[in-house]
Amino acid sequence: MKAKTVVDWPLDLHKVLTETGVRQVAYVPDAGHKRLIELCRADKKMRAVVLTTEEEGLGLVMGAWLGGEKSAVLMQSSGVGNVINTLGTIKECRFPLLMLITMRGDEGEFNPWQVPMGQATQTVLEAMGVIVKRIGTAEEAGPVASAAARLAYNSYAAVAVLISQRLIGIKSFQDQASR
Protein backbone atom coordinates (compact mmCIF):
# COMPACT_ATOMS: atom_id res chain seq x y z
CA MET A 1 0.00 0.00 0.00
CA LYS A 2 1.22 3.45 -0.91
CA ALA A 3 2.19 5.66 2.00
CA LYS A 4 -0.24 8.52 2.59
CA THR A 5 1.34 11.87 1.80
CA VAL A 6 0.24 14.78 3.92
CA VAL A 7 -0.32 17.90 1.86
CA ASP A 8 0.78 21.09 3.64
CA TRP A 9 -2.09 23.18 2.32
CA PRO A 10 -1.26 26.44 4.17
CA LEU A 11 2.21 26.27 2.60
CA ASP A 12 0.60 25.78 -0.81
CA LEU A 13 -1.62 28.84 -0.22
CA HIS A 14 1.41 30.88 0.80
CA LYS A 15 3.14 29.79 -2.42
CA VAL A 16 0.14 31.01 -4.42
CA LEU A 17 0.29 34.41 -2.69
CA THR A 18 4.00 34.61 -3.49
CA GLU A 19 3.52 33.63 -7.13
CA THR A 20 0.67 36.13 -7.46
CA GLY A 21 2.95 38.90 -6.20
CA VAL A 22 0.85 39.69 -3.14
CA ARG A 23 2.56 42.36 -1.00
CA GLN A 24 -0.11 43.14 1.61
CA VAL A 25 -1.94 40.42 3.54
CA ALA A 26 -4.79 41.55 5.77
CA TYR A 27 -6.11 39.18 8.38
CA VAL A 28 -8.22 38.75 11.47
CA PRO A 29 -6.62 36.15 13.75
CA ASP A 30 -8.16 32.77 13.00
CA ALA A 31 -7.38 29.22 14.14
CA GLY A 32 -7.89 27.78 10.66
CA HIS A 33 -5.51 30.31 9.09
CA LYS A 34 -3.00 30.18 11.96
CA ARG A 35 -0.19 28.61 9.94
CA LEU A 36 -0.77 30.70 6.79
CA ILE A 37 -0.77 33.88 8.91
CA GLU A 38 2.54 32.82 10.48
CA LEU A 39 4.02 32.13 7.04
CA CYS A 40 2.93 35.56 5.80
CA ARG A 41 4.21 37.33 8.91
CA ALA A 42 7.60 35.65 8.50
CA ASP A 43 7.78 36.56 4.79
CA LYS A 44 9.87 39.72 4.28
CA LYS A 45 8.23 40.36 0.91
CA MET A 46 4.78 40.62 2.50
CA ARG A 47 3.31 43.13 4.89
CA ALA A 48 0.95 41.28 7.23
CA VAL A 49 -1.69 43.69 8.52
CA VAL A 50 -3.74 42.57 11.51
CA LEU A 51 -7.26 44.03 11.54
CA THR A 52 -9.86 44.69 14.20
CA THR A 53 -12.66 43.68 11.82
CA GLU A 54 -12.77 42.19 8.33
CA GLU A 55 -14.19 45.21 6.53
CA GLU A 56 -10.95 47.05 7.29
CA GLY A 57 -9.26 44.47 5.08
CA LEU A 58 -11.32 45.51 2.06
CA GLY A 59 -10.31 49.12 2.64
CA LEU A 60 -6.67 48.05 2.74
CA VAL A 61 -7.11 46.11 -0.52
CA MET A 62 -8.50 49.19 -2.26
CA GLY A 63 -5.71 51.43 -1.05
CA ALA A 64 -3.03 48.89 -1.95
CA TRP A 65 -4.38 48.58 -5.48
CA LEU A 66 -4.57 52.36 -5.92
CA GLY A 67 -0.88 52.31 -5.01
CA GLY A 68 -0.08 49.49 -7.45
CA GLU A 69 0.21 46.60 -4.99
CA LYS A 70 -1.59 43.27 -4.91
CA SER A 71 -3.09 42.04 -1.67
CA ALA A 72 -5.23 39.33 -0.11
CA VAL A 73 -7.61 39.09 2.85
CA LEU A 74 -7.65 36.08 5.19
CA MET A 75 -10.77 35.59 7.27
CA GLN A 76 -13.26 33.19 8.73
CA SER A 77 -16.72 32.76 7.20
CA SER A 78 -18.24 34.74 10.08
CA GLY A 79 -16.22 37.71 8.83
CA VAL A 80 -18.07 37.64 5.52
CA GLY A 81 -21.03 39.10 7.39
CA ASN A 82 -18.89 42.11 8.25
CA VAL A 83 -17.82 43.01 4.71
CA ILE A 84 -21.08 43.03 2.75
CA ASN A 85 -21.58 46.78 2.28
CA THR A 86 -17.90 47.35 1.52
CA LEU A 87 -18.11 44.72 -1.24
CA GLY A 88 -20.44 47.14 -3.02
CA THR A 89 -17.62 49.65 -3.43
CA ILE A 90 -15.19 46.92 -4.51
CA LYS A 91 -17.65 45.94 -7.25
CA GLU A 92 -18.57 49.45 -8.37
CA CYS A 93 -14.91 50.41 -8.75
CA ARG A 94 -13.83 47.01 -10.14
CA PHE A 95 -11.10 46.53 -7.57
CA PRO A 96 -9.52 43.05 -7.78
CA LEU A 97 -10.15 41.20 -4.51
CA LEU A 98 -8.86 37.83 -3.31
CA MET A 99 -10.35 36.51 -0.08
CA LEU A 100 -9.24 33.21 1.46
CA ILE A 101 -11.97 32.19 3.86
CA THR A 102 -11.92 29.30 6.34
CA MET A 103 -15.39 27.86 6.88
CA ARG A 104 -17.19 27.66 10.20
CA GLY A 105 -20.74 26.54 10.80
CA ASP A 106 -20.28 23.90 8.18
CA GLU A 107 -19.01 20.33 8.44
CA GLY A 108 -18.47 19.13 12.00
CA GLU A 109 -19.20 22.47 13.67
CA PHE A 110 -19.38 22.31 17.46
CA ASN A 111 -20.73 25.85 18.03
CA PRO A 112 -24.35 26.20 16.90
CA TRP A 113 -24.06 30.01 16.88
CA GLN A 114 -21.61 29.73 13.96
CA VAL A 115 -24.08 27.81 11.81
CA PRO A 116 -26.38 30.58 10.50
CA MET A 117 -23.55 32.69 9.04
CA GLY A 118 -21.62 29.63 7.87
CA GLN A 119 -24.60 28.32 5.95
CA ALA A 120 -25.32 31.76 4.43
CA THR A 121 -21.71 32.56 3.47
CA GLN A 122 -21.77 31.49 -0.19
CA THR A 123 -25.25 32.91 -0.85
CA VAL A 124 -24.37 36.26 0.67
CA LEU A 125 -21.12 36.54 -1.28
CA GLU A 126 -22.83 35.63 -4.54
CA ALA A 127 -25.62 38.13 -3.85
CA MET A 128 -22.89 40.81 -3.80
CA GLY A 129 -21.43 39.61 -7.10
CA VAL A 130 -18.44 37.79 -5.65
CA ILE A 131 -17.20 34.71 -7.52
CA VAL A 132 -17.04 31.77 -5.09
CA LYS A 133 -14.66 28.80 -5.36
CA ARG A 134 -14.45 25.97 -2.86
CA ILE A 135 -11.54 23.93 -1.55
CA GLY A 136 -12.73 20.56 -0.23
CA THR A 137 -9.44 18.67 0.09
CA ALA A 138 -5.86 19.61 0.94
CA GLU A 139 -4.74 18.58 -2.56
CA GLU A 140 -7.10 21.12 -4.15
CA ALA A 141 -5.90 24.07 -2.09
CA GLY A 142 -3.00 25.19 -4.29
CA PRO A 143 -4.67 24.77 -7.71
CA VAL A 144 -8.02 26.30 -6.67
CA ALA A 145 -6.39 29.27 -4.93
CA SER A 146 -4.07 29.83 -7.86
CA ALA A 147 -6.96 29.88 -10.33
CA ALA A 148 -8.88 32.24 -8.02
CA ALA A 149 -5.94 34.64 -7.76
CA ARG A 150 -5.54 34.76 -11.52
CA LEU A 151 -9.27 35.33 -11.95
CA ALA A 152 -9.20 38.22 -9.46
CA TYR A 153 -6.19 39.98 -10.95
CA ASN A 154 -6.73 39.21 -14.63
CA SER A 155 -10.41 40.15 -14.53
CA TYR A 156 -10.57 42.89 -11.85
CA ALA A 157 -12.99 40.55 -10.08
CA ALA A 158 -13.91 39.93 -6.45
CA VAL A 159 -13.17 36.26 -5.75
CA ALA A 160 -13.69 34.28 -2.54
CA VAL A 161 -12.13 30.89 -1.85
CA LEU A 162 -14.04 28.94 0.79
CA ILE A 163 -11.84 26.42 2.60
CA SER A 164 -13.77 23.45 3.96
CA GLN A 165 -13.95 22.87 7.69
CA ARG A 166 -12.73 19.33 6.97
CA LEU A 167 -9.23 20.71 6.30
CA ILE A 168 -9.15 22.67 9.51
CA GLY A 169 -10.26 19.75 11.62
CA ILE A 170 -11.24 21.56 14.81
CA LYS A 171 -13.71 19.45 16.72
CA SER A 172 -14.28 21.23 20.02
CA PHE A 173 -13.66 24.41 22.02
CA GLN A 174 -10.94 22.55 23.94
CA ASP A 175 -9.29 21.55 20.69
CA GLN A 176 -9.40 25.14 19.39
CA ALA A 177 -8.00 26.59 22.61
CA SER A 178 -5.12 24.10 22.67
CA ARG A 179 -3.81 25.16 19.25
Binding site: E55, G59, L60, G67, E69
Partner: protein, 196 residues
Protein backbone atom coordinates in the same frame (compact mmCIF):
# COMPACT_ATOMS: atom_id res chain seq x y z
CA UNK B 1 -17.22 73.03 20.67
CA UNK B 2 -16.55 76.68 19.82
CA UNK B 3 -14.93 77.28 16.44
CA UNK B 4 -15.02 79.84 13.67
CA UNK B 5 -13.46 77.59 11.04
CA UNK B 6 -15.37 76.79 7.86
CA UNK B 7 -14.83 73.36 6.31
CA UNK B 8 -14.12 74.51 2.75
CA UNK B 9 -11.54 77.06 3.96
CA UNK B 10 -9.81 74.32 5.97
CA UNK B 11 -9.73 71.83 3.11
CA UNK B 12 -8.61 74.50 0.61
CA UNK B 13 -5.74 75.38 2.94
CA UNK B 14 -4.71 71.73 3.40
CA UNK B 15 -4.70 71.09 -0.35
CA UNK B 16 -2.94 74.32 -1.39
CA UNK B 17 0.23 73.50 -3.34
CA UNK B 18 -0.62 69.82 -3.03
CA UNK B 19 2.08 68.73 -5.54
CA UNK B 20 2.10 64.93 -5.58
CA UNK B 21 0.05 64.48 -2.40
CA UNK B 22 -2.42 61.59 -2.67
CA UNK B 23 -5.84 62.24 -1.13
CA UNK B 24 -8.60 59.87 -0.01
CA UNK B 25 -11.87 61.54 1.02
CA UNK B 26 -14.60 59.85 3.04
CA UNK B 27 -18.19 59.48 1.92
CA UNK B 28 -20.20 62.67 2.24
CA UNK B 29 -19.23 66.25 2.77
CA UNK B 30 -15.47 65.74 2.70
CA UNK B 31 -15.71 64.20 -0.79
CA UNK B 32 -17.49 67.38 -1.92
CA UNK B 33 -14.94 69.53 -0.04
CA UNK B 34 -11.89 68.11 -1.84
CA UNK B 35 -13.72 68.48 -5.14
CA UNK B 36 -14.53 72.12 -4.38
CA UNK B 37 -10.79 72.62 -3.79
CA UNK B 38 -10.19 71.36 -7.36
CA UNK B 39 -10.80 67.88 -8.73
CA UNK B 40 -7.51 66.01 -9.17
CA UNK B 41 -6.41 62.67 -10.62
CA UNK B 42 -4.66 61.84 -7.34
CA UNK B 43 -7.89 62.31 -5.37
CA UNK B 44 -10.11 59.34 -4.57
CA UNK B 45 -13.44 60.65 -3.25
CA UNK B 46 -15.63 57.89 -1.83
CA UNK B 47 -19.28 57.52 -2.79
CA UNK B 48 -19.70 54.44 -0.58
CA UNK B 49 -17.92 52.14 1.90
CA UNK B 50 -18.63 54.43 4.84
CA UNK B 51 -16.00 53.85 7.52
CA UNK B 52 -13.28 52.72 5.09
CA UNK B 53 -11.47 55.96 4.22
CA UNK B 54 -8.68 55.62 6.78
CA UNK B 55 -7.99 52.00 5.80
CA UNK B 56 -7.80 52.89 2.11
CA UNK B 57 -5.26 55.51 3.15
CA UNK B 58 -3.30 52.85 5.04
CA UNK B 59 -3.17 50.44 2.09
CA UNK B 60 -2.00 53.26 -0.17
CA UNK B 61 0.57 54.53 2.34
CA UNK B 62 2.05 51.03 2.71
CA UNK B 63 2.17 50.57 -1.07
CA UNK B 64 3.90 53.94 -1.63
CA UNK B 65 6.04 54.60 1.46
CA UNK B 66 8.00 57.45 -0.18
CA UNK B 67 4.88 59.45 -1.05
CA UNK B 68 2.61 61.45 1.25
CA UNK B 69 -0.97 60.26 1.79
CA UNK B 70 -3.79 62.33 3.28
CA UNK B 71 -7.16 60.97 4.39
CA UNK B 72 -9.78 63.71 4.83
CA UNK B 73 -12.99 62.49 6.33
CA UNK B 74 -15.92 63.52 8.48
CA UNK B 75 -16.61 62.75 12.12
CA UNK B 76 -19.50 60.41 11.26
CA UNK B 77 -17.38 58.45 8.76
CA UNK B 78 -14.47 58.22 11.21
CA UNK B 79 -16.74 57.03 14.01
CA UNK B 80 -17.87 54.17 11.78
CA UNK B 81 -14.27 52.97 11.40
CA UNK B 82 -12.71 53.62 14.81
CA UNK B 83 -11.00 50.24 14.74
CA UNK B 84 -9.00 51.37 11.73
CA UNK B 85 -7.23 53.92 13.95
CA UNK B 86 -5.99 51.00 16.05
CA UNK B 87 -4.92 49.12 12.93
CA UNK B 88 -2.98 52.17 11.67
CA UNK B 89 -1.44 52.51 15.14
CA UNK B 90 -0.02 48.99 14.78
CA UNK B 91 1.41 49.60 11.28
CA UNK B 92 2.73 53.11 12.00
CA UNK B 93 3.09 54.42 8.42
CA UNK B 94 5.28 57.56 8.56
CA UNK B 95 3.74 58.98 5.37
CA UNK B 96 0.06 58.92 6.41
CA UNK B 97 -2.07 61.70 7.88
CA UNK B 98 -5.74 61.34 8.83
CA UNK B 99 -7.68 64.58 9.25
CA UNK B 100 -11.24 64.60 10.52
CA UNK B 101 -13.35 67.61 9.55
CA UNK B 102 -15.60 67.59 12.59
CA UNK B 103 -18.87 69.54 12.42
CA UNK B 104 -20.44 67.23 15.03
CA UNK B 105 -23.19 66.43 12.53
CA UNK B 106 -24.27 63.87 9.92
CA UNK B 107 -24.44 66.38 7.09
CA UNK B 108 -25.99 64.19 4.39
CA UNK B 109 -28.89 62.85 6.43
CA UNK B 110 -30.30 66.00 8.01
CA UNK B 111 -27.58 67.38 10.28
CA UNK B 112 -28.25 65.03 13.18
CA UNK B 113 -25.67 65.14 15.96
CA UNK B 114 -22.80 62.65 15.92
CA UNK B 115 -21.11 61.25 19.02
CA UNK B 116 -18.53 64.06 18.93
CA UNK B 117 -21.32 66.55 19.71
CA UNK B 118 -21.65 64.75 23.04
CA UNK B 119 -17.95 65.02 23.73
CA UNK B 120 -16.48 61.84 22.27
CA UNK B 121 -12.85 62.82 21.77
CA UNK B 122 -11.41 61.44 18.52
CA UNK B 123 -8.02 63.04 19.17
CA UNK B 124 -7.70 61.08 22.38
CA UNK B 125 -8.75 57.89 20.59
CA UNK B 126 -6.03 58.44 17.98
CA UNK B 127 -3.46 59.10 20.70
CA UNK B 128 -4.47 55.95 22.49
CA UNK B 129 -4.28 53.99 19.24
CA UNK B 130 -0.62 54.93 18.82
CA UNK B 131 -0.58 57.77 16.30
CA UNK B 132 2.71 59.66 16.44
CA UNK B 133 0.83 62.92 16.88
CA UNK B 134 -2.82 63.76 17.33
CA UNK B 135 -4.05 67.35 17.43
CA UNK B 136 -7.29 69.12 18.12
CA UNK B 137 -7.54 72.23 15.93
CA UNK B 138 -10.06 75.02 16.47
CA UNK B 139 -8.42 78.08 14.88
CA UNK B 140 -6.65 79.28 11.75
CA UNK B 141 -3.18 79.06 13.28
CA UNK B 142 -3.75 75.40 13.93
CA UNK B 143 -4.81 74.86 10.31
CA UNK B 144 -1.56 76.43 9.07
CA UNK B 145 0.34 73.93 11.20
CA UNK B 146 -1.61 71.08 9.68
CA UNK B 147 -0.36 71.91 6.19
CA UNK B 148 3.20 71.35 7.42
CA UNK B 149 2.17 68.15 9.18
CA UNK B 150 0.46 66.67 6.12
CA UNK B 151 3.22 67.54 3.68
CA UNK B 152 6.30 66.82 5.72
CA UNK B 153 6.08 65.61 9.32
CA UNK B 154 6.64 61.95 10.20
CA UNK B 155 3.42 60.12 10.97
CA UNK B 156 1.10 58.52 11.42
CA UNK B 157 -0.48 61.90 12.07
CA UNK B 158 -4.02 62.64 13.17
CA UNK B 159 -5.99 65.86 13.52
CA UNK B 160 -9.54 66.65 14.46
CA UNK B 161 -10.54 70.04 13.07
CA UNK B 162 -13.66 71.54 14.62
CA UNK B 163 -15.69 73.39 11.97
CA UNK B 164 -18.96 75.29 11.91
CA UNK B 165 -22.01 73.12 11.20
CA UNK B 166 -23.36 74.60 7.96
CA UNK B 167 -25.16 73.45 4.86
CA UNK B 168 -23.20 74.53 1.79
CA UNK B 169 -23.62 73.84 -1.94
CA UNK B 170 -22.58 70.34 -3.09
CA UNK B 171 -19.62 70.18 -5.45
CA UNK B 172 -19.74 66.65 -6.81
CA UNK B 173 -16.77 64.64 -8.11
CA UNK B 174 -17.12 62.12 -10.97
CA UNK B 175 -19.52 59.38 -9.88
CA UNK B 176 -18.10 56.47 -11.85
CA UNK B 177 -16.04 54.32 -9.48
CA UNK B 178 -13.94 52.47 -12.04
CA UNK B 179 -13.02 55.81 -13.63
CA UNK B 180 -11.91 57.30 -10.30
CA UNK B 181 -9.79 54.21 -9.63
CA UNK B 182 -8.24 54.02 -13.09
CA UNK B 183 -7.35 57.71 -13.33
CA UNK B 184 -5.71 57.60 -9.90
CA UNK B 185 -3.58 54.57 -10.82
CA UNK B 186 -2.52 56.04 -14.16
CA UNK B 187 -1.57 59.34 -12.55
CA UNK B 188 0.49 57.54 -9.92
CA UNK B 189 1.98 54.61 -11.79
CA UNK B 190 1.82 55.70 -15.42
CA UNK B 191 0.98 53.37 -18.35
CA UNK B 192 2.28 50.42 -16.31
CA UNK B 193 -0.93 50.73 -14.26
CA UNK B 194 -2.80 49.02 -17.06
CA UNK B 195 -0.38 46.09 -17.27
CA UNK B 196 -0.21 45.09 -13.61
Amino acid sequence: MKTNLHRRDVVNALLADRDDLMVIAGLGSTAWDITAAGDHDLSFPLWGAMGSAAMIGLGLALAKPRRRVLVITGDGEMLMGLGSLATIGVQKPANLSVIVIDNERYGETGMQETHTASGVDLTLVAKGAGFRQARLVTDRKGVDGLHRMVHGEAGPNFAQVKVVAEKIPLVLPPREGALLKARFRRALIGPAADAL
